[in-house]
């Protein structure tokens, strides 16, 4: 059995770790690319959302490397994602791929059924204690990953050399993917901090030319937030424009809530969002629709300069959120921009819109003519 799984940003690092620590053979599909999307789009229903198309592309590319079993999480609605496992199974079957699809969810609410599926994946050599240990370690890694990511978000607008910052990020991801010990994970985070500190020292005292970076909160559909290919490098692009970003959902927050059913909070828990959303959207709407609204409120209250919502075309929960967001914008006087991505989204269009949005946010500050200092990386990220 060779297990594969769909990509979602850095999630592969965590999933790979999980299976490797259980000695299950795992195939990490090639990272999302134009080819992935083209392959997936060819098989997908036309109006399915972008994640489905990329997922299918991942499986096809993984099949070339010998994968024969797919692991995906499920759900019972009302977001479409809950049905994707079954949908993808049928699509792949009719396209002639001989895949076995294991959906990690309690089938018809039966926890025993879920246990059986986990047992099927983990094989007979692993005890439940080992499985739980592996889960804990993978979770720990996802928290560390999120911490690194948050540090990078803060570092991008502050460090002098953007190439170097990206290099730190890439190296950190590689290190985290390789290490199999708790100590190694901690070391990596420490190494990232060290590298940032070194780089920061090169910029001596904050000169007058630099203002405090703009802060933009990124909210929306989880796949598009977490996956830089899908969002066309939204965070990196904003970082290059001198903006510090924060996002509503981090991988471990999602894992903690969705997979561990709230037993683990994750880095930046998403639990508080429904409360924030209450005056605007008091009921959940599936997916992360309510969380999106809640995060917008939270970012607005924390004084962010702007908010960007991103979601794949025809995403149902986010459409509901998008039609509520104008009221948040009105109530807190914070500019909110909505970006919708699909397989035809072009880099240049995205870049233009981001630049225009950042210009728009910078204008009031220029007029006020305030010269705030930039602040330190560690005062902001990785807390």
């Amino acid at each position: 059995m060779k297990v594969t799984f769909p990509h979602m940003g850095n999630a592969w690092i965590v999933i790979q770790t999980l299976f490797e620590s259980l000695n299950v053979e795992v195939v990490v599909p090639p990272t999302n690319s134009k080819r992935t999307l083209n392959l997936g789009t060819r098989l997908s229903p036309e109006s399915a959302c972008l994640p489905l198309k990329l997922n299918l592309g991942n499986y096809i590319e993984a099949a070339d490397e010998g994968a024969d079993t797919i692991v995906i999480t499920g759900g019972i609605g009302p977001c479409r994602f809950g049905y994707y496992g079954e949908m993808e199974r049928q699509i792949l079957q009719s396209a002639g791929y001989n895949y076995d699809v294991v959906t990690l969810e309690p089938p018809n609410g039966s926890l025993l059924g879920l246990a059986k599926r986990i047992r099927y994946l983990a094989g007979t050599n692993n005890s439940w204690a080992q499985i739980i240990k592996a889960l804990r370690f993978a979770y720990l890694k996802s928290v560390a990953l999120d911490q690194v990511e948050d540090l990078i978000h803060a570092a991008r607008p502050r460090l002098p050399n953007s190439m170097e910052t990206e290099k730190i990020y890439e190296d950190a991801k590689k290190l985290l993917a390789q290490t199999m010990t708790v100590k190694g994970v901690q070391e990596t985070v420490r190494w990232v901090k060290e590298s940032i500190r070194e780089s920061q020292e090169k910029v001596d005292t904050p000169s007058e030319g630099f203002n405090k970076p703009l802060r933009i909160g990124i909210i929306g559909e989880i796949y598009t937030i977490l996956d830089p290919y899908t969002s066309l490098g939204l965070e990196e692009e904003l970082g290059r424009l001198g903006v510090e970003v924060d996002r509503s959902i981090y991988l471990s927050g999602w894992v903690g809530n969705h997979v561990f059913q709230g037993l683990a909070p994750g880095y930046r828990s998403i639990k508080s969002y429904p409360g924030h959303a209450k005056p605007f959207l008091p009921h959940f709407v599936g997916g992360h629709g309510q969380e999106t609204v809640g995060a917008a409120v939270k970012f607005a209250r924390e004084g962010f300069d702007g908010i960007i919502q991103i979601f794949p075309l025809s995403c149902m929960p986010e459409i509901v959120a998008a039609s509520v967001l104008p009221r948040v914008q009105e109530a807190y006087k914070v500019p909110i921009m909505t970006l919708i991505v699909d397989e035809h989204t072009g880099q240049a269009g995205m870049q233009t819109r981001l630049e225009a949005f950042v210009d728009l946010l910078e204008r009031p500050r220029l007029q006020r003519g305030i010269g705030q200092t930039r602040g330190e990386v560690f005062g902001v990220g990785g807390r």
Binding site: A48, P78, S314, M316, V320
Partner: protein, 362 residues
């Protein structure tokens, strides 16, 4: 007190329940007029760009409600255990606030059958307090609502269409309670009376039988779907999702490895699957709208089934730009194809090539 009920989205299918509910509470319910050009245009202006046509229409209907004390926009989370409605239903009324004319309050209540009847009743009683009604009154109203809803649903087997059923309810509201006999008055364009339809069906056995599947708020919405149902009825015998009994729907859902978790999707797939297997049905038309999330999945599931069984199958996708000529052309072409297939199906050429050999592959 006069409550406005927009004639869109949950009006189709669930209006009888709410009509009965408010009737028992002595609250007058006013529905907006049937969709016309202006309603659609108003809706397009006020609704969010990304949302789907039915919600845009709902936004238009909300604005068309004049002279009412409040507008009623229930949040229909679920109408049966283990399912949801579409996420966009869950976002009502908040997502439609921009469309509500200023000064008119919005009444809303959560209807969630996932948590059982007790919870539904409790939510309705909380809602009743807003209306100044006590618990006993709400319970009675709830019972009547359910009775009306059941009567409407049972009536589907008799081949009524939605508007006719509603007229019956409206008559009942006025006190004329004898509903044993089916309504006799036909309605305008594209309609037929149920009694004559039954006899027509018996006479015309060689007419094509086409199943029109899709959300009730699309198939019954004759303005938005460019009177597709009426056009079909002129030429063929039409079967709808609503004509399929609940047992048939359930039994045709059994083949799924994972249960569908949307109520409408279940109905559509279950009855669609029945139509696919039904030899009486000559072809299936799936009516969808642009950007419909549930249809994007269910349409594909049903298309596989249709392909398996070599059943003629066409998908019509609506949006606010749908052109009449395009639809008519496609419809005629589809019906011609189905007709031709019926005539030539058994034809085997003497020199070894069958005329329609490849036409079954969709």
């Amino acid at each position: 007190m006069k409550i406005g009920f927009p004639r869109a989205l949950f009006y189709f299918d669930y209006f009888p329940f709410w009509a009965g509910f408010f009737h028992r509470l002595n609250i007058e319910v006013v529905t907006s007029p049937a969709t016309h050009r202006q309603i659609m245009e108003q809706g397009l202006k006020k609704a969010s760009d990304e949302t789907c046509l039915p919600l845009k229409l709902l936004a238009g209907h909300i604005q068309a409600l004049k002279d009412v004390d409040a507008i009623f926009l229930p949040r229909m989370v679920s109408v049966e255990p283990d399912t949801y409605t579409c996420p966009k239903f869950l976002g009502i009324p908040e997502s439609l606030f921009p469309a509500v004319p200023s000064g008119i309050p919005v009444l809303t209540v959560v209807l969630n059958w996932r948590k059982g009847k007790r919870q539904v009743l409790k939510d309705l009683q909380v809602f009743g307090r807003q209306l100044g009604k006590n618990k006993a009154e709400i319970r009675k109203a709830f019972t009547l609502g359910q009775e009306w809803q059941k009567r409407y649903q049972d009536s589907m087997g008799a081949g009524w269409d939605f508007e006719e059923s509603i007229r019956e309810i409206e008559r009942a509201q006025k006190g004329l309670k004898d509903s044993a006999s089916p309504p006799e008055c036909g309605r305008g364009q594209g309609a037929r009376t149920s009694t004559s339809a039954v006899s027509l069906k018996e006479q015309n056995t060689d007419r094509l039988r086409i199943a029109l599947v899709g959300h009730s708020y699309l198939t019954q919405e004759s303005y938005a779907n460019l009177n597709l149902l009426g056009r079909l009825r002129e030429k063929t015998e039409v079967q709808l999702v609503q004509h399929v009994s609940q047992e048939d729907v359930e039994s045709h859902l059994l083949g799924l490895r994972k249960k569908l978790f949307w109520n409408h999707a279940k109905q559509i797939f279950g009855s669609g699957n029945k139509f696919v297997r039904d030899h009486e049905i000559d072809g299936i038309i799936y009516l969808s709208c642009f950007g419909c999330g549930t249809d994007s999945m269910v349409q594909e599931l049903l298309a596989w089934k249709a392909r398996e069984q070599h059943k003629p199958y066409m998908v019509v996708t609506l949006d606010e730009h749908s052109g009449e000529a395009g639809l008519v052309t496609r419809l005629e072409a589809f019906l011609d194809m189905v007709e031709r297939r019926r005539v030539h199906e058994g034809y085997v050429s003497t020199y070894g090539e069958r005329l329609d050999r490849d036409s079954n592959t969709l």
